[in-house]
């Protein structure tokens, strides 16, 4: 039934009653009665019109709806009668539901949501997707070469289709044809089979096909994303006639991807897809199309129907062995072959995307989800307590209503409606809160200037989730008080609404709610303590370099035509270093491949007399002469690179302390040589210096084995220009960029950031967990305090009479306060007694997320317990004071 129908039929009934009533009246008048009397007689003959209307409604089957609307109206009125309680309840609910919704929307975006492609559950990835970059290691299982992908595509028996994705996003400064300025574009190189395999067809034009990917270098075509089409081309309908210039090659735009398709990597949204066959022409010009050992691709496959993951894994591993055996050459050792035999390629389902974010955030998000779940439970307990107190205070009202004939079921339903109204309002506030919170969270997760391309908007699944939470909350806290409120002895409650007789059963439930709240709060508070202290420990880690007063810039010469192996690239870098070093306020400037948390180039080194098995994982950093000065990394021995180290002179290297200790334990490494790669590689390096160990990829890593190479002896793109400065960062940054543009005004600078931002960005995950868990911990404590306060206030008001008598009999004020405080101590104490073991168990679950602190850290737990006690007592202090101020005369007269 629609409400407008109700209105219509109601009006109809009204009209019918009126017309018949008038008729009756007329007849009465015709019988000779006076108009007034006639009217009264007519009404008498008719009976109660309201009753008629109600009974007619019943006949229409609308009774329930009418009752419901009445209950809602009544509920709203009665909630508004106690605004403070309603506000607290709404706040608790909104925060509880809002936090849950916000975290869940993140969880969904990062962990749960399927890729918007055909049958995503059939998609698998070779390896786990935890690397990205280029490897030349023997038989890596995370990254694959293009020839490997082709061999696998041809020979496997388990995939209906296979595709590959270049593991690095190409951040290019390209030009839209007809414009004179370059703009940043995120380009993803994929195999021609990528779109067909995913079953994604173009919104406009066509997608890439295998034909675009068969021969190297002659298919300059690009598919653009819907977002980029909107952002950069203003949804130009003639998009297919437009071109893009990436590097020196002009690409035809052949299609626009559908709006929902953001690629296959959650948290990365390519603007442009190009075929792998064109990769060497897209800056920075990786040559990853032909080399068997250029392992730089993710390989994904679509399982044939009916093929299990185990079958697929067996077949792929067999193939893996065969392909790699065919890559054997004279450098491959017996050990390599033995390693290959032991190598196992795991297959990972990528139904919800290839996901670097998942590694980083899945555990934090799960933890946060658990935290917010607990917060919601605490909020519910709080509300249950509030309503419990309220409904007990309303015992008289219910008794009167029951005495007047209201049925228990009717009262229960009315109370439940009231709870539903509350929960619905809380849910709405919660959703609004969640929208804000999500934006805030997204901002918190995104390091650097760009917001992470993650769709965390509210959607149906999320709405359903919130609705479930809301309704179950309503039922949870609605049922208890409702059942309790109506289960009363009528006569007792009517006789004295205020005595303790009618409330005898109330306290245990309320008490246990408080105890649970305190226990949960302790868990959250201690967890927050652990995370916050981990974060502090991380912040205090000695990085080995000075993170203050350093700017990092990313110039992009590849986008303006500089090639990887041209000598003029080095000339450009040298010129940049010199011009920037001359800027006022700059004390040192040097290019470097990496500073901190920027990935790595790692590989094997061959050291005479050292077992190659332990020298397999050395990280290399290519730097300029002033790098150590710019980073303030102390040189422990030898010298740094100098102008006389050139492409023509002996190749030299500086090694880290750890490198020296590991490979030259007993001798002075200065002057010794080693090879990067195998013993026959052309890279024979002479050690000229030893630098202090530094943190390289993360603050919590073990010491890295590292060597530094001079860019003057290599020709390659180098990402960073490291600038140490004094004075104002903004002024220096502007001056430095101007200095770079004085060399070439067209040289794009992709990013400018500080080393300090880079370091703090590396612990964004820990920071978010620490901040949010602290927030939720405090929220939990706050909610518990409200719970304690309400219960105690209620208890005091209930026992005013008793307190009055005690005081009249000579009890001092202090002992009255003690009455209240004792109860609080008892409640908090019990909560703590339960909470401590739970905390110890829970904290062990997150021990791998802690840094520099043990999960069972006594100080944290003790601190949390003390904190809880203090705030608990504070919460009880007001009611206790009110109790001690009870005027015995007033209290006694009251009854």
């Amino acid at each position: 039934m629609r409400s407008w129908q109700i209105g219509k039929r109601d009006a109809d009934l009204e009209r019918e009653l009126n017309s018949d009533l008038e008729l009756e009246e007329e007849e009465q008048r015709e019988r000779g009665l006076l108009p007034e009397e006639a009217r009264r007689a007519a009404l008498r003959a008719f009976g109660n019109p309201t009753l008629i209307r109600e009974q007619s409604h019943l006949a229409w089957g609308w009774g329930w709806l009418e009752d419901f609307l009445k209950d809602v109206a009544y509920g709203v009125r009665s909630l508004l009668r106690s605004p403070a309680l309603t506000a607290v309840a709404l706040l608790s609910l909104a925060l509880g539901i809002g936090a849950n919704t916000a975290i869940f929307s993140f969880l969904d975006a990062v962990l749960l949501r399927n890729l918007p492609v055909q049958e995503p559950s059939q998609l698998v990835l070779l390896g786990t997707g935890s690397w990205s970059g280029i490897s030349d290691s023997w038989a890596a299982t995370e990254l694959y070469s293009y020839p490997f992908y082709r061999a696998l595509q041809k020979n496997n028996l388990v995939f209906s289709q296979a595709a590959s994705i270049f593991s690095m996003m190409l951040n290019v400064h390209g030009t839209v044809n007809g414009r004179d300025k370059t703009e940043p574009m995120n380009v993803q190189a994929v195999s021609g089979t990528y779109f067909p395999m995913l079953g994604v067809s173009a919104l406009i034009g066509r997608t890439l096909t295998d034909d675009d990917d068969r021969t190297e270098g002659n298919h300059p075509v690009a598919v653009i994303s819907y977002a980029w089409w909107t952002r950069s081309l203003a949804r130009d309908p003639n998009v297919l006639s437009r071109k893009l210039k990436l590097g020196s090659t002009s690409f035809d735009i052949i299609g626009v991807a559908p709006q929902e398709f953001f690629g296959t990597q959650v948290g990365q949204a390519p603007d442009i897809w190009v075929p792998m066959s064109m990769i060497s022409q897209v800056p920075p010009g990786w040559h990853s199309y032909s080399g068997q050992r250029d392992e730089s691709l993710y390989v994904i496959g679509r399982l044939k129907p009916g093929v299990s993951l185990a079958q697929a894994t067996a077949n792929i591993n067999l193939l893996f062995q065969q392909v790699w055996l065919s890559y054997r050459d004279e450098h491959v050792t017996q050990k390599d072959l033995a390693d290959l035999q032991k190598t196992h390629v795991p297959l990972t389902s990528i139904a919800n995307g290839l996901n670097a974010l998942r590694d980083q955030f899945s555990q934090p998000l799960k933890i946060l989800m658990a935290l917010t779940g607990v917060v919601l439970l605490i909020a519910c307990a709080n509300i249950a307590n509030l309503l419990l107190a309220r409904s007990t205070a309303r015992a008289r009202e219910f008794a009167v209503r029951q005495a007047l004939g209201a049925k228990r079921s009717r009262l229960v339903r009315q109370l439940l409606t009231e709870s539903l109204v509350l929960a619905a309002a809380g849910g709405i506030f919660g959703i609004i809160l969640a929208i804000f919170a999500d934006h805030m969270l997204l901002h918190m997760v995104s390091t650097g200037t760009d917001t992470l391309p993650l769709d965390v908007s509210i959607h149906m699944r999320l709405l359903l989730f919130t609705l479930t939470v809301t309704v179950s909350t309503a039922l949870l806290f609605g049922t208890l008080p409702a059942l309790r409120a109506t289960k009363l002895e009528l006569t007792d409650a009517l006789k004295d609404g205020r005595s303790s007789a009618g409330t005898g059963t109330k306290t245990p439930l309320a008490n246990s709610l408080i105890i649970t709240q305190v226990a949960f709060s302790l868990v959250l508070l201690a967890g927050a303590g652990l995370f916050v202290r981990s974060l502090m420990n991380l912040n205090n880690v000695d990085t080995g370099f000075n993170r203050e007063n350093v700017l990092i810039l990313n110039p992009d010469p590849s986008s303006i035509g500089y090639k990887d192996d041209e000598p003029r690239l080095n000339a450009l870098y040298r010129q940049m270093e010199q011009r920037v070093a001359a800027v006022h306020g700059v004390t040192a400037a040097s290019v470097a491949s990496f500073t901190f948390h920027e990935g790595s180039w790692n590989g094997t080194v061959t050291i005479p007399g050292i077992d190659p098995a332990i020298s397999s994982d050395v990280k290399h950093n290519v730097i300029g002469n002033d790098y150590f000065k710019a980073m303030q990394i102390p040189l422990l021995a030898g010298r740094t690179f100098e102008p006389q180290d050139t492409a023509a002179s002996q190749k030299v290297a500086i090694i880290s302390e750890r490198f020296a200790k590991l490979y030259f334990p007993k001798s002075n490494p200065i002057g010794r040589t080693y090879h990067i790669g195998g013993p026959n590689s052309p890279w024979e390096m002479q050690i000229i210096g030893i630098a202090k160990d530094v943190k390289f990829q993360s603050l919590d890593e073990n010491t890295t084995t590292l060597d530094y190479l001079a860019y003057s002896q290599r020709h390659q793109y180098i990402d960073d220009l490291v600038v140490r400065y004094n004075g104002d960062q903004t002024a220096v940054s502007t001056a430095v960029q101007r200095a770079i543009h004085s060399i070439d005004p067209n040289l794009p600078i992709t990013h400018v950031y500080s080393l300090d931002e880079q370091v703090s960005g590396s612990i964004v995950q820990q920071r978010i967990v620490a901040q949010l868990s602290a927030f939720f911990g405090l929220l939990a404590v706050f909610l518990s305090c409200i719970g304690i306060y309400c219960l105690m206030s209620y208890m005091v008001s209930l026992r005013t009479n008793e307190i009055g008598i005690r005081m009249a009999l000579g009890a001092p004020r202090s002992s009255v306060s003690w009455l209240v405080m004792r109860k609080i101590l008892l409640l908090v104490g019990s909560g703590v007694a339960i909470g401590v073991p739970v905390t110890l168990v829970c904290s062990r679950l997150v021990s791998n997320m802690l840094f520099g602190i043990r999960a069972t850290d006594a100080a944290t737990v003790t601190g949390s317990v003390l904190g809880l006690l203090v705030v608990g007592l504070l919460a009880g202090w007001l009611p206790a004071r009110r109790a001690s101020r009870v005027n015995p005369m007033v209290a006694l007269r009251y009854e």
């Binding site: 018949d20 009756e24 003959a45 009976g47 009974q55 007619s56 009774g63």
Partner: protein, 121 residues
């Protein structure tokens, strides 16, 4: 919901079957509006059923809901005003037969209890 209907049934209770039947019977003579129906029932029962007109309307609406009568606003021939006229539907006619026979059975049953056969003969 269920408790609600139960409540309603109890309230209309004893009278319901009878009232429904009386209304249907009244309408057998032709369409009539609420006031006429009420008056007719009162007259034909010789004012025996002291009912308020008002209780008629919920019953009328219930019958309409069940499809036993249909209703339409029409101008009364004697007064120049519109009234809501009720008509017996085919379904209503069948229902009247059912109720009649049920009532008969019940009346006979009650009669047998009240005045056992022996007394009569």
């Amino acid at each position: 919901m269920s408790s609600m209907t139960k409540q309603a049934q109890q309230r209309v209770g004893v009278l319901q079957g009878t009232l429904d039947m009386l209304i249907l019977l009244t309408l057998l003579y032709g369409p009539a509006h609420g006031h006429q129906i009420g008056k007719h029932i009162q007259r034909t029962t010789n004012e025996f059923l002291q009912m308020q007109h008002g209780s008629l309307y919920p019953a009328l609406h219930r019958l309409e809901e069940r499809g036993w009568v249909s209703a339409k606003w029409e101008t009364a021939p004697d007064r120049n005003r519109e009234f809501k006229y009720y008509r017996l539907t085919d379904k209503g006619k069948k229902q009247l037969l059912v109720e009649e026979s049920q009532w008969k059975q019940m009346a006979e049953a009650v009669a047998r209890v009240m005045w056992p056969a022996g007394e009569e003969s």
